[in-house]
């Protein structure tokens, strides 16, 4: 009888139990997704092929998966870093747009010597992202304005700014769509000769390593955990609460900005109206599933990249609608979230 049972928090979930419940959740999600896709007309025999083989086991598929994962890693880290200090950065997309705008400015206006274009775009994109989140940070620290609302709304402001530029001074006259002209080669990450994959891979990898080191190995990371878990205790024990919070929040903005730069300089090679779409949702999901741990952010981002790749294949070859792809993603994610719940709680009956 369900009304006579109650949930008990497990003290320290064992490794095996966690692994089992996550695997179970994933399997359940994939099974339900498979049923949905079969209903939508994808032959059952093709499912394994498209999901596993297309996304990971073919050279083309794998390069696509990794390419898609690069900005996901960065926004996932952005969300994870802010989550560590319990600052809810719902403006990932806004900061990403600003980073993309900064990189585009360097590219279109050919700022500085050619060899410095990418490093300059890198620095400016990071600063633009930090600057955008700094508004929410100051509003919160000064006047207690809720960052969920302010950062979310600033995301819309950023998008409007991009539209303003795309329909205005940055519009490519040779193109009927509201997009900028293509970036000159000096502002593009060089291709690595494997599918679409580009040198942004090294940028993302180095940043992920640096963020991992910062959070897990340095004093600032230690402070971040203390501030995020119990701000009052951190204050009372004399930790630099405000500085830690500000530092990590600005880093979060910078990482989002860099994601914008990696997209425009790496794959799109121009600014358009679609480059930032959907990254807020992905960032939150990645950080949540990874429990704000940088290593797991990379793993989950790659998995999500694979889902995007498989989704594209299904769209192209089987005419599955975009909505169906989102539904599959949602099904898998919510199953894993349920598994996470059951690895922390056990269902008990009263004795």
């Amino acid at each position: 009888m369900l009304d006579a049972a109650f949930l008990v928090r497990r003290q320290q979930p064992g490794l095996l139990l966690s692994a089992l419940s996550y695997t179970g959740g994933l399997a359940f999600g994939l099974a339900v997704s498979a049923m949905l896709l079969v209903q939508a007309g994808v032959p059952a025999s093709a499912l394994v092929d498209e999901f596993l083989v297309a996304a990971f086991l073919t050279s083309d598929g794998l390069s696509q998966t990794v390419t898609a994962a690069l900005p996901l890693i960065l926004v996932g880290l952005a969300s994870a870093v802010a989550t560590r200090v319990r600052f809810w950065n719902i403006g990932v997309e806004g900061q990403l747009w600003l980073g993309a705008v900064a990189a585009t400015w360097v590219a279109l206006h050919e700022i500085g010597p050619e060899s410095m274009r990418l490093p300059l775009a890198f620095v400016l994109a990071a600063l633009a992202g930090s600057g955008w989140i700094a508004i929410s940070l100051v509003l919160k620290q000064r006047w207690g304005v809720n960052e969920v609302i302010s950062s979310l709304l600033l995301g819309s402001v950023a998008f409007l700014l991009v539209q303003h530029l795309l329909f205005g001074i940055w519009r490519d006259p040779a193109n009927s769509f509201p997009v900028t002209a293509a970036f000159p080669p000096a502002s593009r990450f060089s291709a690595l000769g494997w599918g679409q994959l580009h040198a942004g891979l090294f940028v993302a990898a180095l940043i992920a390593l640096a963020v991992w080191f910062l959070l897990e190995r340095t004093r600032a990371g230690f402070y971040a955990d203390a501030v995020g878990l119990n701000r009052q205790a951190a204050l009372a024990t004399g930790l630099p609460v405000r500085r830690t919070l500000a530092g990590l929040v600005l880093l979060s903005g910078a990482l989002s900005g860099l994601a914008g730069m990696v997209i425009v300089s790496g794959t799109e090679h121009r600014l358009n109206q679609a480059v930032g779409n959907g990254y807020l949702f992905s960032a939150i999901v990645i950080a949540y599933l990874a429990r704000a741990k940088p290593f797991w952010v990379v793993v989950v981002a790659l998995a999500l990249g694979a889902v995007f790749t498989a989704g594209n294949v299904l769209k192209v070859f089987y005419g599955v609608s975009e909505g169906m792809i989102v539904l599959v993603q949602g099904t898998v994610l919510i199953s894993i979230l349920m598994a996470q719940f059951f690895s922390t709680y056990s269902l008990n009956r009263p004795s």
Binding site: T218, D225, A233, L235, A236, T237, G238
Partner: protein
């Protein structure tokens, strides 16, 4: 039956031979093996207002929580109006005729009074609509003479209004016996008088009221009988209020013997910490501080006794730097630290053991090693800013775990898994470091078993013998008396009296606690 009891029974219309409204005998209850109630007894007659008094932690609220089914008793039995009952939850108790108004009201703030009543009545009631519930509220309100507007939203009501709404709700749910847990603590004097007048009327209409209180003047003016509890036992059961003196009540509350042994040897050194005219404005749910003065000397324990909620939390927060006082001075080592950050205070030698360990002292989710290192990481004890030497943190934690005999602890273990005693040891191991000059300890042995309590007190004693000054703020009088050289009493946000420990008498403390000095 005494003459007075007969008089009460007569006034309430109950005759000799009527069973008591509530009868509890031999009630025992332990939390984690620590007894909170031992063989407690309580008898409530119809028609009376019966006071239960005692120190914090004496077991007053626990006894009534057992009666109303919040806790299940380990032993003993209870009867309402002669019928044995062991309510499993407050709903059963209320349906059985016994309802409690807690210090924190059980009202949904975004609902109206009538909606709250409807919610409380539940599925089994025949009342189905808000308007029916509102009619019930108005009828009850008129019947008992307690003005309540059924259509007001709780969030818009004053505390006194909410309390009246709660009382009407509890009565509508079927209670004829009303238990009020320190109902006047949140009221102004005028509101308190109105409430107590009502309570008396309600009892005279044939109901019965239990009043849990600290204040003797309320007992004397509004109650018929009094039961006094101390350390979970009933030390005075149902005596007539008429003819009992305040001194006697104070003596019974505090106890016959004031054990003062075991206080650390004192050298009467220089003043280490001086608080002058410290003031903090009162907030909605807190006591303020009013021109509070005190001096604390080297190698001295100054105990601050008092009933909880009289500004102790605020004093500790002001000392630790978590709250900014409006005015005054806090002089530590010759410097005014009133506006200093917690970190600066720490550098000046101040250490705080908060009453709620996991609110401001430790971080539950972090490991024991992390918690032990919290205060020393910034001083570079575990490497520079760019690389944290977790190996050194671990090693230090291992040393501490040995030195403080923290059984079953490993450096990596989450602090959340520590027992109360071991958590306190972790905190002490961090705070009692060589740089400590002034220790502010708030209820350091609250919730600990005897062995852990002994450990904590010995640790404080040793620190003071080594020259530290200790401000011991505790609601446990035994604790204050067993360690302190001087005892101060705190009431309504200020120090109302201070004496050398040898001159402390139960009457003196009792009078100051009751707010009569």
């Amino acid at each position: 039956m005494t003459a007075a009891q007969k008089a009460i029974a007569g006034r309430a219309g109950s005759l000799p031979g009527t069973p008591p409204a509530l009868d509890m005998q031999g009630v025992g209850k332990a939390f984690d093996g620590k007894p909170a109630l031992e063989d407690a007894a309580f008898t409530l007659e119809w028609g009376e207002v019966h006071a239960i008094v005692g120190e914090n932690g004496a077991g007053k609220s626990t006894l009534m929580n057992v009666a109303t089914g919040v806790y299940a008793a380990d032993s003993g039995h209870q009867a309402i109006n002669g019928a044995a009952i062991a309510p499993r939850n407050p709903t059963e108790a209320t349906a059985g005729g016994l309802g409690m108004v807690h210090q924190h009201f059980r009202l949904v703030e975004s609902f109206t009074v009538a909606e709250n009543v409807l919610l409380g009545l539940g599925k089994k009631s025949r009342v189905r609509s808000v308007s029916e519930a509102a009619a019930l509220v108005m009828a009850k309100s008129a019947e008992i003479g307690l003005p309540v507007d059924p259509h007001r939203v709780i969030a818009d009501l004053s505390i006194a209004d909410r309390q009246r709404a709660e009382i009407v709700k509890v009565l509508l749910l079927g209670a004829r016996i009303l238990v009020l847990d320190e109902p006047t603590a949140v009221l102004t004097d005028e509101e308190a008088r109105a409430l107590l007048d009502f309570v008396r009327r309600l009892a005279r209409q044939g109901n019965a009221v239990v009043l849990i209180t600290h204040k003797f003047r309320e007992v004397a003016a509004f109650c018929d009988r009094i039961t006094i509890m101390r350390h979970g036992k009933t030390v005075l059961s149902g005596a007539q209020v008429e003819g009992i003196s305040e001194e006697e009540v104070a003596r019974l509350i505090v106890g016959e013997t004031l054990a003062t042994g075991g206080r650390p040897a004192s050298r009467h050194g220089a003043v280490r910490l001086s608080i002058k005219a410290l003031s903090l404005p009162a907030r909605a749910h807190g006591q303020g501080l009013h021109a509070l003065d005190l001096d604390l000397r080297e190698a001295e324990v100054l105990g601050i006794a008092g009933v909880g909620g009289n500004g102790q939390e605020e004093l500790v927060a002001c000392l630790g730097g978590l709250q900014r006082p409006a005015s005054g001075q806090i002089i530590l080592g010759g410097r005014d630290i009133l506006t200093a950050t917690p970190q600066e205070r720490r550098h000046a030698g101040l250490r705080v053991i908060p009453s709620d360990r996991f609110a401001t002292g430790m971080i539950r989710e972090l490991s024991i090693a992390d918690n032990m290192a919290l205060t020393s990481v910034s001083e570079g004890a575990f490497g520079g800013p760019l690389y944290l030497r977790r190996d050194r943190m671990r090693k230090r934690a291992e040393t501490m775990i040995d030195a403080f005999d923290i059984r079953g602890a490993t450096p990596e273990r989450s602090a959340a898994l520590l027992s109360g005693g071991n958590a306190q040891k972790v905190l002490l191991s961090r705070e009692l470091d060589p740089g400590m000059k002034v220790l502010v300890a708030h209820s350091p042995s609250r919730g600990l078993d005897m062995k852990a309590t002994h450990f904590v007190r010995t640790a404080i004693r040793q620190a003071v013998e080594n020259g530290a000054a200790c401000l011991l703020i505790s609601e446990d009088l035994q604790e204050v008396l067993s360690l302190s050289h001087r005892v101060a009493v705190m009431n309504r946000g200020t120090i109302v009296g201070c004496r050398a420990a040898d001159d402390v008498t139960p009457e003196w403390i009792g009078a100051l606690l009751a707010g009569h000095a």
